[in-house]
């Protein structure tokens, strides 16, 4: 007779032991927590410092897209579906570029100003539509960067179609790499900690049920505005950083790829984890560089791998990996 079996998942004992302060009980528990964090940090750092210059630039771009994807996931965790990371990215880029070009403000000031100013400007721009939900909010964020792009083209402000060139670069590549990696890890761990706090969980509650959050006496629009500021500031930082990295800003910073790639990275990596989108970006960006050898067929292979990932692991790589890492699966007999 064939037995009826069911797969059961239970938490690994070491995970329970490494909860909270108990992690300090032994090296095994500490290592359990540190391993998944230290390996990517050290791994990416090693790659960034040891690879030749061309691939160093790839690492920088990857980090930038990883931050865009993390910020997209943060906004979606707060119930705001954004199709316009390019809007925030472009605003940050143009602020940094214009300040540097027209007012000769040094790089160590343009980046912070563009980060905060870009976040503020993006938030003010979207404040009138903050009441919209889901796809309606997404449509507005999708169309805004395209509109701004055409306005720049038509009015020829900020260099028009030519853009602004000859901006100050970073002192050297090492500073550049260290800076962007520090920013990326700060963003990731900062946001993860923030969203797990008592204050941060209100953002998640707005995504789950905004009416019940309102009925709990929470002004959801104030919270949404804060989330928008945090999310768009991160993107604006990326824009400002890339502007100085390439010493150029222009209409391409509002391009669709800055909106779409972060979403693809999140879908592959695992939505709702913040770390997943980073993993996704670390796969997609280098992959796209490797596929350059195939010329025109690049997009075909790229799309194929994307489809395979989504079909094989619809929950996302990070969800899958964290489940395998934290839980044991075993077969139990059904009573």
């Amino acid at each position: 007779m064939k037995e009826n079996l069911r797969k059961e998942r239970i938490e690994r004992p070491v995970r329970a032991r490494s909860n909270d302060i108990y992690a300090l009980m032994s090296w095994q528990e500490m290592w359990f927590l540190l391993f998944p964090r230290i390996v990517p940090i050290v791994g990416i750092a090693l790659l960034a410092y040891l690879l030749p210059l061309y691939w160093q630039k790839v690492v920088i771009t990857t980090c930038i897209f990883a931050m865009l994807a993390t910020s997209w996931d943060f906004l979606s965790s707060c119930g705001m579906l954004s199709l316009g990371q390019a809007l925030f990215f472009g605003i940050g880029s143009y602020i940094a570029g214009s300040l540097n070009h027209y007012f000769h403000i040094p790089i160590y000031l343009t980046i912070p100003v563009a980060t905060l100013g870009g976040g503020l400007l993006s938030t003010l721009l979207l404040l009138p539509v903050i009441r919209l939900r889901g796809i309606y909010f997404a449509m507005i964020t999708l169309i805004l960067p395209l509109m701004i792009m055409r306005v720049i083209e038509a009015t020829r402000i900020f260099g028009g179609t030519e853009g602004i060139t000859g901006l100050s670069p970073f002192p050297n590549i090492w500073v550049e790499i260290t800076f962007i990696m520090a920013a990326m890890w700060t963003t990731l761990f900062g946001l993860r900690r923030f969203i797990a706090s008592d204050y941060g969980l209100i953002f998640v509650s707005i995504r789950d049920n905004d009416r019940a959050t309102m009925a709990s006496g929470i002004n959801i629009y104030a919270f949404k505005a804060q989330a928008l500021f945090i999310g768009s500031s991160i993107c604006a930082f990326c824009g400002a950083f890339m502007t100085h990295s390439y010493m150029f800003t222009g209409m391409p910073v509002f391009a669709m790829e800055f909106s779409i790639l972060p979403i693809a990275a999140s879908a592959i990596g695992g939505i709702g984890t913040l770390a997943g989108p980073l993993v996704g970006a670390c796969i997609l960006l280098p992959l796209s560089e490797i596929l350059r050898e195939f010329g025109t067929l690049r997009i075909v292979f790229y799309g194929l791998i994307l489809v395979l990932c989504v079909v094989a692991l619809p929950e996302g790589i990070f969800h899958y990996a964290s489940r395998k890492y934290n839980e044991i699966e075993r077969w139990v007999r059904i009573e």
């Binding site: 209100i202 509650s205 049920n209 019940a212 309102m214 009925a215 006496g217 002004n219 959801i220 709702g272």
Partner: protein, 247 residues
């Protein structure tokens, strides 16, 4: 004195009059039941009182304050708590973290003295009050895996945590077994004993009439009857609206 005064509320959706000149007066520390067939405007009335829907005309006075035009969160902070008919908790959060949300509201912050209390401990206390076994794993489970009965209790816990003066419970008993309803009724009676006011929209008349002080009956957006449960039970017009029998 009436704690909540609803006067001449009219609301149309397109050509349909959901509410037609409805007035209700709720006395403090009583339980008011609102009954009526499907589509009679019960939930719309709750939506108007809690600020989710704006009426075409009429006014809602709570403790001498006009509520029409206020936002839902402002009304919640004034002390009107609302439990929804469709239970949709914060699915991604553990049950006790669901309660942190109302604990973070202005109303609770203003009423809590002595700095930062441990919100988790308060949340667990509130959950225990509505029947979550404290020493079990239930309060720590993600809301998405909790059974329906617990989700209804979670809605109630949200209002208790908010320290609401008025509890508006929209079909709290729907989808619950008789045993479950019997175990929730003492919680409701305890809330009443604490001096709170309750408005229950309900289809489970038998259970409602056991605990209600007053009942109003809505039909096609009009208030057709108001009185003690016993009077309502014997009223011919109510029987007709409810059962569709010709008398």
């Amino acid at each position: 004195m009436a704690i909540l005064e609803v006067k001449g509320i009219t609301k149309s959706f397109g050509g349909v009059k959901a509410l037609d000149n409805v007035s209700v007066s709720v006395e403090e520390n009583t339980l008011l039941g609102i009954i009526g067939p499907n589509g009679s405007g019960k939930t719309t009335l709750a939506n108007i009182i809690t600020g989710f829907v704006k009426p075409d005309s009429g006014s809602v006075i709570f403790k001498g304050k006009e509520l029409i035009g206020s936002t839902p969160y402002a009304i919640a902070n004034l002390g009107i708590g609302r439990a929804f008919q469709m239970v949709k908790p914060f699915f991604h959060l553990p049950a006790f973290k669901n309660i942190i949300v109302p604990l973070s509201s202005k109303r609770v912050k203003a009423s809590t003295t002595g700095g930062y209390g441990d919100k988790d401990a308060i949340a667990l206390d509130v959950l225990e009050e509505v029947g979550f076994e404290r020493d079990s794993s239930v309060p720590y489970k993600t809301a998405s895996v909790l059974p329906h009965g617990y989700l209804k209790r979670l809605e109630l816990a949200r209002l208790i945590a908010l320290k609401s003066d008025i509890f508006i419970l929209d079909e709290l008993f729907s989808g619950l077994s008789i045993a479950e309803v019997t175990s929730i009724i003492p919680i409701i009676e305890k809330i009443l004993q604490e001096g709170k006011t309750i408005i229950m929209i309900e289809h489970r008349l038998k259970e409602l009439f056991r605990i209600a002080d007053n009942v109003i009956v809505l039909n096609y957006g009009q208030k057709i009857k108001e009185g003690k449960p016993q009077e309502i039970l014997e009223d011919e017009e109510v029987k007709k609206a409810y059962l569709g029998v010709e008398v």
